[in-house]
C-alpha cells in the first residue's frame, strides 16, 4: 500500500517529567520514495520524534498527519497498531520466542502469511535461516530479520532508530547499503535516525539536523554540508573551525585576510566557518604547524595563527611538514561560510 502521501509533523511538542522538553515545536516532512535522515547528538530528541511518529509516544502539542489523516493532534492519538508504520529498533526487538520466519510473519494476516514472510526473507537472503531463533543469528542477520519484519506488511513509511549502531564497524557500510536498497525498492518513505554524520550523509536524500529538541536545518546532504546555517549545524555534519568577526563595509577581517560578506549588515558579529577540507598549505610564515594527525595517505595538520587561534588543514601525508614549521594557508571559498551569530 505504497502511497504518495506525505507525512507531516507540525509544531510537535513533548515534555517529560521534570519539565525537560524532548521536542520543542518540531516541523518535518517525510516524502514518499525518499530517505530522510534525522541527525543529532544523543539526547537531542530524535528518538522521541521517531517514537511519536510511530504512535509509541504522545505529543503534548502539535500535529502529525499522514496525508489527510490526523495521527496525533490535540486530544487525538491514533494508536500504533492503526498507523502501521514499519519500525526497526536499535536493539532490533526481535521476539525471542519466535523463529525468524514467525517474526517476519507477525504483522501479516491471511492464510498465505507464512509464504509471504518467507518471500520477504528470501529478499533479505535469509531463507536458509527461517527456522533459526534470534539468539542463533549474527548481529547482521538479526538486523536483516528486523528490517524484513518491518517491511513485510508493506508500510507506507518505515522508521529506523539507529539501526546500524549495534553492528561491527566493518559490517556497517555493507549492511547500510543493503538496507537502503531494500527500502528504496519498497517505495516507502523512510526516516533514519542516527548520530553518525557519515551514515546520514551517505544514506539520505533529505537531511534534518536536530539539537535540543529542535530541527535546526533541513536540506539535501550536500546543501547542509556546504551551507550550514550555524556553527552548531556545521559541527553536526563534519569537522569545522570557527572564528568570530565583525562585518565592516561588506567585509569580515580574519587571519586569512578580508573575507567577502556582501549581503550582511554592517557592524553585526558573525561566525566564520571553515571546513579543513577547504584549507590548503601554501608558502608563507603566518601559521605554525602545532600538531599532526595521520590517517593513512592524508594528514590533518593543526596550525596556530599569530593571534593564537587554531586551524586545521587536510593535506597529503607526503608533504613532510613537521611540528614547528611555518607555512601560509589558502582558502577555497566553497568551504567557507559566514553566518550571523545565533
Amino acid at each position: 500500500m505504497v502511497s504518495d502521501e506525505v507525512l507531516s509533523v507540525r509544531g510537535a511538542l513533548r515534555r517529560f517529567e521534570g519539565g525537560h522538553r524532548a521536542l520543542c515545536g518540531v516541523d518535518l516532512d517525510i516524502i514518499p520514495g525518499q530517505v530522510t535522515a534525522l541527525l543529532g547528538p544523543s539526547g537531542s530528541g530524535k528518538s522521541t520524534l521517531l517514537r511519536a511518529i510511530a504512535g509509541l509516544e504522545h505529543l503534548d502539542d502539535g500535529t502529525i498527519r499522514m496525508g489527510d489523516t490526523l495521527w496525533s493532534g490535540p486530544g487525538k492519538h491514533c494508536p500504533p497498531e492503526i498507523r502501521r508504520v514499519g519500525l526497526v529498533f536499535q536493539d532490533y526487538a526481535l521476539f525471542p520466542h519466535m523463529n525468524a520466519l514467525d517474526n517476519v510473519a507477525f504483522g501479516l494476516k491471511g492464510a498465505d502469511r507464512k509464504e509471504r514472510a518467507l518471500h520477504q526473507l528470501k529478499h533479505a537472503e535469509l531463507a536458509g535461516k527461517a527456522r533459526n531463533f534470534p539468539h542463533e543469528l549474527s548481529g547482521g542477520e538479526q538486523q536483516r530479520v528486523a528490517l524484513a519484519r518491518a517491511l513485510a506488511p508493506e508500510p507506507s513509511i518505515i522508521l529506523l532508530d539507529e539501526p546500524f549502531s549495534g553492528l561491527d564497524r566493518r559490517l556497517r557500510g555493507d549492511v547500510r547499503r543493503r538496507t537502503m536498497t531494500a527500502i528504496r525498492k519498497s517505495g516507502a518513505a523512510a526516516l533514519l535516525v542516527t548520530h553518525d554524520a557519515e551514515e546520514a550523509l551517505e544514506a539520505a536524500d533529505q537531511l534534518a539536523l536536530m539539537q535540543d529538541g529542535e530541527i535546526i536545518q533541513t536540506g539535501t546532504p550536500k546543501d547542509v554540508w556546504f551551507n550550514p546555517v550555524s556553527a552548531d549545524a556545521a559541527r553536526l555534519v563534519g569537522d569545522i573551525d570557527v572564528a568570530q568577526g565583525k562585518v565592516r563595509s561588506g567585509k569580515v577581517e580574519s587571519v586569512f585576510g578580508d573575507l567577502p560578506a556582501d549581503q550582511m549588515e554592517d557592524g553585526i558579529t558573525v561566525d566564520i566557518l571553515v571546513r579543513p577540507e577547504g584549507v590548503s598549505v601554501t608558502q608563507g610564515e603566518a601559521f605554525e604547524v602545532s600538531g599532526e594527525d595521520y590517517a593513512g595517505a592524508q594528514v590533518r595538520l593543526e596550525l596556530k595563527a599569530s593571534d593564537g587561534s587554531l586551524w586545521h588543514a587536510q593535506t597529503s601525508a607526503t608533504t613532510g611538514l613537521q611540528r614547528g614549521d611555518r607555512v601560509g594557508l589558502g582558502l577555497d571559498p566553497d568551504f567557507v561560510r559566514i553566518v550571523e551569530q545565533g
Binding site: L87, Q90, D91, G107
Partner: protein, 539 residues
C-alpha cells in the same frame, strides 16, 4: 529518552491486585504488632523471660548459624564446580542439585534420627560410634542438607556471570590460580552467597517440625507452646514480635546483599570464563562432591522412609490428608501467581504506590509461618471485636465466629508468607517483555488481548508457572501455620506426619512424609530445569 507514561497504560486492575497483595502480606505482621504492643503484662511472659526464653534464643542462633555455614559451604562449593568446571554429569547435576529443596527438613530429620539413634542401623554398624542426629547441631545439619540449594543457585549464577577479565587481571599481576580465585571470583560472588545464606537462616527460623523432632527448642517452638499450651494471644503475639524482629533483620541483610550483587556484576563487556576441564581423579572427586548432598539430603532419608513405610500399617486419614494438602497448595499457588503477576505488572509503571506495595508484600517473605498464623488470628479477632457490638445491636445475636479456623484463614496465612515468593520471579519473567518488544508488536498491528496472547504470555508463562509451583511446594511442606490454623478435622500430610513422628510411630509417619517429598519433587523438577535453563553455557 523514553518516558514511562506511554508504555504503562495505567493498569489499574493490576495496581488494585498489587495493593491487595501488599495488604495480605502485611496485615498479619501489623496485627501481631498491634496486639503485642497493647497494654497488659502476663505472668507467662515474665516467667518465660526468666526461664526458657534465653534457651530459645540461643538455640535459634545456633541452629541458624550451623545451617547457614553448612549450606554456605556446600552451596558455594557446588556452585563453583557447576559454573566453572567441566566434568561428566555436570549438566545434569546443574539442575538435579536443586531438587533437595523438595524434601522438607523435618522429613530428613525423621529419617536421620531413626537411622542414627541407639539401636538404629548406623548405630549398630558403627558399634555405637556414629553420633545421633539430634539437638541444635543435628537440626542445623538437616537444614544445611536440604536448604543448600538457595546458596547453590545464587552462587552458581554469580560465578557463571563473572567475566574472566578480573581473574585474568589477577593472574597477570602475579597471583596464583588459587589466590586469583580467592581474591577475585570469591569476593565477587560473596554478596550472592551471603544472600543465599540469609534465606537459609530465615527458613530455619521459620521451621517447627525439625527442631521439635530433634529436640532443639527455638523461638518457633516457644511461640507454638505459648499458643497451644497457654492459649494466650498476647503472649504469642509478643513472642512473634521477637521472632519477626530477628527475621526482618536477616531479611534486611539479604536485601542489602542483593543490592550489592548488582554492583558486583561484571562491568563492561562480558567475557565468559573458561571452564577448568577436570580429568580422572579430579573429575571423580567433583562427581562425588555433587552426589554426596543428593545422597545425604534425598536418597538416604527417602530410602529409609520407604523401608519404614513398607513395614507399617497405613496411617489413618492419609487419603483425606492428601486431598487437603493438594487443595490448599493448589489454591495458594494459583492465588500467589495471580498476586505476583499483578504486582509485577503494576511495578512496570514504577509509580510510588506499586513500588511501596511490592516492598510491603516482600516483607511477607520474612514472616515465619507460625507468626503469620498468629497474625491471621489476631487480625480476625480484631475484626470480630470491632464488628461484634454493631452486629449485636442490629440482630441481637452474637456475631458469628469469623473464619478463625477455616481453610480460607489458612490460605490467607499461606499467601501472606509465600505470595512474596511469587513477585520477583514474575517480575523477572515480565522483564523479558521489553518496551521495544511491545512497541514492535504494536507497530505490526497487534494490541490488547492479541498482544498479551502472542507476545506477553509466551514469554512469561514458564516463569509464572515456576513461581506458582514453588509456592505449591512451600505450602505442601508448611507445618507450623497449618498446625495453628487448620480447621477441625482438616489434617494435611505435614500435620499427620508430624503427629505420628511425635508419637514415635515413624512407620506411620513415613508414608505421609514420603508423599510430601515425592509430590513436591515433580513440580521441583520443572522449577529446577527452568532455573537452570538460562545458566550460562548450558543452553
Amino acid at each position: 529518552m523514553i518516558s514511562g507514561s506511554d508504555r504503562a497504560q495505567r493498569p489499574t486492575a493490576a495496581l488494585a491486585v498489587a495493593v491487595i497483595a501488599a495488604l495480605v502480606c502485611a496485615a498479619p505482621i501489623l496485627a501481631v504488632a498491634l496486639i503485642a504492643l497493647s497494654d497488659g503484662s502476663t505472668d507467662y511472659l515474665r516467667h518465660l523471660a526468666q526461664t526458657r526464653l534465653p534457651t530459645y534464643l540461643w538455640n535459634s542462633f545456633l541452629v541458624g548459624t550451623i545451617a547457614a555455614l553448612g549450606a554456605g559451604i556446600i552451596g558455594t562449593g557446588l556452585g563453583w564446580l557447576i559454573a566453572r568446571t567441566a566434568f561428566p554429569g555436570r549438566k545434569i547435576f546443574s539442575w538435579v542439585l536443586i531438587l533437595p529443596l523438595a524434601v522438607p527438613a523435618y522429613v530428613a530429620a525423621y529419617a536421620w534420627l531413626d537411622l542414627s539413634q541407639a539401636g538404629g542401623p548406623l548405630d549398630a554398624l558403627s558399634f555405637g560410634l556414629f553420633p545421633t542426629v539430634r539437638g541444635s547441631l543435628g537440626a542445623g545439619l538437616m537444614f544445611a542438607l536440604v536448604l543448600y540449594p538457595y546458596v547453590y543457585l545464587l552462587a552458581r549464577d554469580a560465578f557463571a556471570g563473572q567475566s574472566a577479565d578480573a581473574y585474568d587481571a589477577a593472574r597477570t599481576l602475579g597471583a596464583s590460580p588459587l589466590h586469583a580465585f580467592s581474591s577475585t571470583a570469591l569476593p565477587m560472588a560473596r554478596p550472592a552467597i551471603a544472600a543465599g545464606m540469609a534465606l537459609v537462616v530465615m527458613e530455619s527460623l521459620a521451621d517447627y517440625g525439625t527442631v521439635s523432632h530433634l529436640g532443639a527448642p527455638t523461638l518457633s517452638i516457644g511461640l507454638i507452646r505459648a499458643w497451644s499450651g497457654a492459649g494466650s494471644l498476647l503472649d504469642a503475639a509478643r513472642l512473634s514480635l521477637i521472632l519477626v524482629a530477628i527475621a526482618l533483620f536477616v531479611f534486611g541483610v539479604e536485601r542489602l546483599q542483593r543490592r550489592r550483587m548488582r554492583s558486583h556484576a561484571a562491568s563492561g563487556r562480558h567475557r565468559p570464563p573458561q571452564r577448568f576441564k577436570l580429568r580422572g581423579g579430579q573429575a571423580f572427586a567433583a562427581f562425588a562432591a555433587c552426589a554426596a548432598p543428593l545422597l545425604l539430603g534425598m536418597a538416604i532419608p527417602l530410602g529409609r522412609l520407604v523401608w519404614r513405610a513398607l513395614r507399617a500399617p497405613l496411617a489413618s486419614g492419609l487419603f483425606d490428608a492428601v486431598q487437603h494438602s493438594l487443595i490448599v497448595a493448589t489454591i495458594s499457588a494459583i492465588l500467589a501467581a495471580i498476586l505476583g503477576l499483578s504486582t509485577a505488572y503494576a511495578l512496570r509503571s514504577k509509580g510510588f504506590i506499586p513500588v511501596a506495595a511490592a516492598r510491603l508484600a516482600g516483607l511477607g517473605y520474612a514472616v515465619p509461618g507460625a507468626v503469620a498464623a498468629v497474625g491471621v488470628i489476631a487480625m480476625l479477632s480484631g475484626i470480630q471485636s470491632v464488628l461484634d457490638p454493631a452486629w449485636r445491636s442490629l440482630t441481637g445475636a452474637v456475631f458469628p465466629i469469623l473464619l478463625t479456623a477455616s481453610a480460607a484463614a489458612l490460605i490467607f496465612a499461606y499467601l501472606s508468607r509465600f505470595a512474596a515468593a511469587a513477585i520477583s520471579p514474575a517480575e523477572n519473567a515480565l522483564a523479558r517483555v521489553t518496551p521495544n518488544l511491545e512497541g514492535a508488536a504494536r507497530t505490526l498491528g497487534s494490541h490488547g488481548f492479541d498482544l498479551m496472547r502472542r507476545v506477553h504470555w509466551p514469554l512469561i508463562v514458564a516463569g509464572v508457572t515456576s513461581a506458582a509451583l514453588l509456592v505449591f511446594v512451600e505450602v505442601l511442606k508448611e507445618l507450623p501455620a497449618t498446625m495453628i490454623l487448620r480447621p477441625f478435622n482438616f489434617d494435611t500430610l505435614a500435620v499427620i506426619a508430624h503427629n505420628y513422628a511425635g508419637d514415635e510411630r515413624l512407620g506411620e509417619a513415613a508414608a505421609p512424609a514420603l508423599l510430601i517429598a515425592l509430590t513436591a519433587l515433580i513440580p521441583m523438577i520443572f522449577v529446577a530445569r527452568y532455573l537452570s535453563r538460562h545458566a550460562s553455557g548450558d543452553e
